[in-house]
């Protein structure tokens, strides 16, 4: 089938739980994993006479995200009631920003196959999360846990400007990285801190009209979002190609076989009867508030990535890898205060140090090796006293947890490379004597064998022979003979 005849059009709605201590409009705790109905109070449970009051921190976090996404921050913020009949919110309505989202427009830059693309945002607004309904615990009844009810959320809505599953994947990866980077959410999809609904349609390539859309819910990992979109695009194209009609539906993703299935047909748009919430006082955000927040924020990944390339001369790949996580990026910067061998710092962080944290299953933040100790290791490599692999495999494990002096430890462990020409000549001669056949082949022109000889010298010197000097000595002796 010719899939290139169609262009997929995707818009994503991402809900991010903000990691405030308390809820959006009340002072009960905002935590994951507590016993049912133990983090509630009279406001969350909608007891008569209670009034919601805005959490200052939630506003700050939403503004942070707006700044990170290049949005315009709305000065006058009001809240509306979104009325719906479902017991997951005891009030009978959700408090949300309807006409005045806190952040308007903006974009997130993603990179797909090495090309950068801006994903444009429609809005980011603040709203409260609903409680959890459990349908299968008691026969004939739905059980409700209101611990999550009232948790602060931001909903990030893109324009319908995403055109492939891969772009959606990269966009979500970037959102998760950003919310962790500016520390407004843990971004954990399995625990529901980050949730995504995808609106998907297809249209003939070149057309500017939007086709009938399907909304896919219950996507609990970034990988599943990608799989669900891939499946939907194929399903829709097959429908159209076989002369059938795409109907507007809400569908759910089935992770057991990577397909989607319809959960409801949309007969008419929901009528939420929004109106301004008379209980909540509007708030006004001025420019100095925005400027203060901006000043308090760390450099953002996209900006750092380009600094790493222009200022430190790193490759685009290394810069991208370092900016996958804030702690890794800032560890790199911290180390540049002690060493100017930027490429070596990047190699060490992205190689052995990443491997170390992955093996222990810890965050880079938890690494005990100090940047100055790493710089000390790199200085030994720069001075030719130790090679990269010995540094990574032998010296690093010895000092990663205690930050002992790298030079003294390398000496103690007998790791310092021998750059003494006599010693190296002796090893070289030994190798040449032991391999007369290979030496002949080399002389007949199989120059690639030099690597084998260097390896042998490395072996008998127990890794201590300076590889540069070894190579030059080998070449000298072999070419003389």
């Amino acid at each position: 089938m010719d899939y290139s005849k169609y262009e997929p059009v995707i818009g994503l709605e991402v809900h991010v739980q903000l990691q405030t201590k308390s809820k959006l409009f009340s002072s009960d705790a905002n935590q994951f994993g507590r016993k049912p109905n133990t983090q509630v109070n009279a406001i969350t449970l909608a007891h008569p006479g209670t009034l919601p009051k805005m959490n200052k921190k939630a506003v700050e976090y939403a503004v942070k995200m707006g700044i990170a996404c290049n949005c315009r921050i709305e000065s006058l913020n009001c809240f509306a009631r979104k009325n719906y009949f479902y017991p997951d919110l005891p009030k009978g309505y959700q408090i949300s920003q309807h006409t005045t989202p806190i952040c308007v427009g903006g974009y997130i830059t993603i990179s797909v196959n090495g090309n950068e693309k801006q994903i444009h945002l429609n809005r980011i607004h603040l709203e409260e999360d609903a409680g959890k309904s459990i349908h299968d615990a008691v026969d004939g009844f739905t059980c409700l846990d209101y611990n999550r009810a009232g948790t602060p959320l931001i909903e990030i809505v893109t324009e319908p400007c995403i055109h492939s599953a891969e772009e959606a994947f990269q966009y979500l990866t970037e959102i998760r990285k950003l919310v962790r980077w500016i520390e407004i959410s843990d971004g954990n999809m399995e625990e529901g801190s980050l949730r995504c609904d995808a609106n998907i349609s297809i249209r003939p390539t070149g057309s500017s009209e939007l086709g009938t859309k399907v909304e896919v819910k219950n996507l609990n990992s970034i990988r599943n979002v990608k799989k669900a979109i891939e499946y939907e695009i194929e399903r829709m194209i097959n429908l159209v190609e076989s002369g059938q009609i795409i109907t507007q539906q809400t569908r759910s993703f089935d992770a057991t076989n990577d397909t989607t299935f319809a959960i409801r047909e949309k007969e008419e748009a929901n009528d939420y009867r929004y109106f301004p919430d008379p209980d909540l006082v509007p708030f006004f955000i001025n420019q100095s508030y925005i400027d203060d927040i901006k000043k308090s924020m760390p450099a953002l990944p996209h900006a750092l990535k380009s600094t790493f390339q222009t200022h430190y001369g790193l490759s685009a790949y290394d810069a991208h890898q370092l900016c996958e996580d804030k702690h890794t990026a800032f560890y790199f910067i911290a180390t540049t205060n002690y060493s100017h061998n930027y490429k070596a710092i990047a190699n060490f962080i992205l190689g052995p140090l990443k491997q170390h944290v992955n093996e222990l299953g810890i965050d880079f933040e938890k690494i005990s090796l100090l940047p100055q100790t790493l710089a000390g290791i790199i200085a030994l490599i720069d001075d030719g006293k130790i090679n990269f692999s010995t540094a990574a495999n032998k010296l690093l494990p010895a000092i990663i947890n205690n930050n002992d002096n790298p030079a003294i430890t390398a000496e103690k462990l007998n790791l310092i490379q021998v750059s003494n020409e006599d010693a190296i000549s002796t090893w070289v001669q030994q190798v040449i004597n032991a391999m007369p056949d290979k030496v002949n082949e080399y002389k007949k022109g199989k120059k690639g064998l030099i690597g084998l000889f260097v390896g042998e010298v490395k072996k008998i010197s127990k890794g201590k022979a300076d590889p540069k000097l070894t190579t030059s000595t080998l070449e000298k002796i072999l070419n003389e003979q």
Binding site: T20, K21, S22, S26, S27, D28, A29, K35, P36, N37, T38, Q39, V40, N41, A42, L45, K53, M54, N55, K56, K57, A58, V59, C78, N83, F85, Y86, P87, T100, S133, I134, H135, D136, A137, V138, G140, F141, T142, C143, L144, D145, Y146, D271, R273, P276, P278, L280, V281, P282, F283, F284
Partner: protein, 96 residues
């Protein structure tokens, strides 16, 4: 605005109310009166007036992000007509 049976049924559904057939004429009449009253207000030209989102004068009333005022699970469930030891209960809201 014309209030007909369809509109009343739609509104009743949104509010989960059941309106009997014999109540219909009265409800339609009442609603028409109410809407007619509001329609009088729409005769006023408000094109230069910002929509009023909030009636009070207060602005920027914030709460510090602190945890207090929590109640216990037992207190939370006490007034619910239906509950288990841990959960509030309502009649099943989705069909299996």
């Amino acid at each position: 605005m014309e209030v007909n049976k369809n509109l009343v049924e739609k509104l009743a559904h949104l509010s989960r109310l059941t309106i009997a057939e014999n109540e219909m004429p009265e409800v339609i009449n009442d609603l028409e009166n109410m809407i007619g009253f509001v329609e009088q207000l729409q005769a006023i030209d408000t094109s230069d007036v910002q929509p009023l989102m909030y009636v009070g004068q207060a602005m920027n009333v914030f709460r510090e992000d602190e945890v207090n005022d929590e109640i216990t699970q037992q207190q939370a469930l006490k007034n619910a007509p239906l509950h288990t030891d841990e959960f509030f209960e309502v009649p099943t809201v989705i069909k299996k």
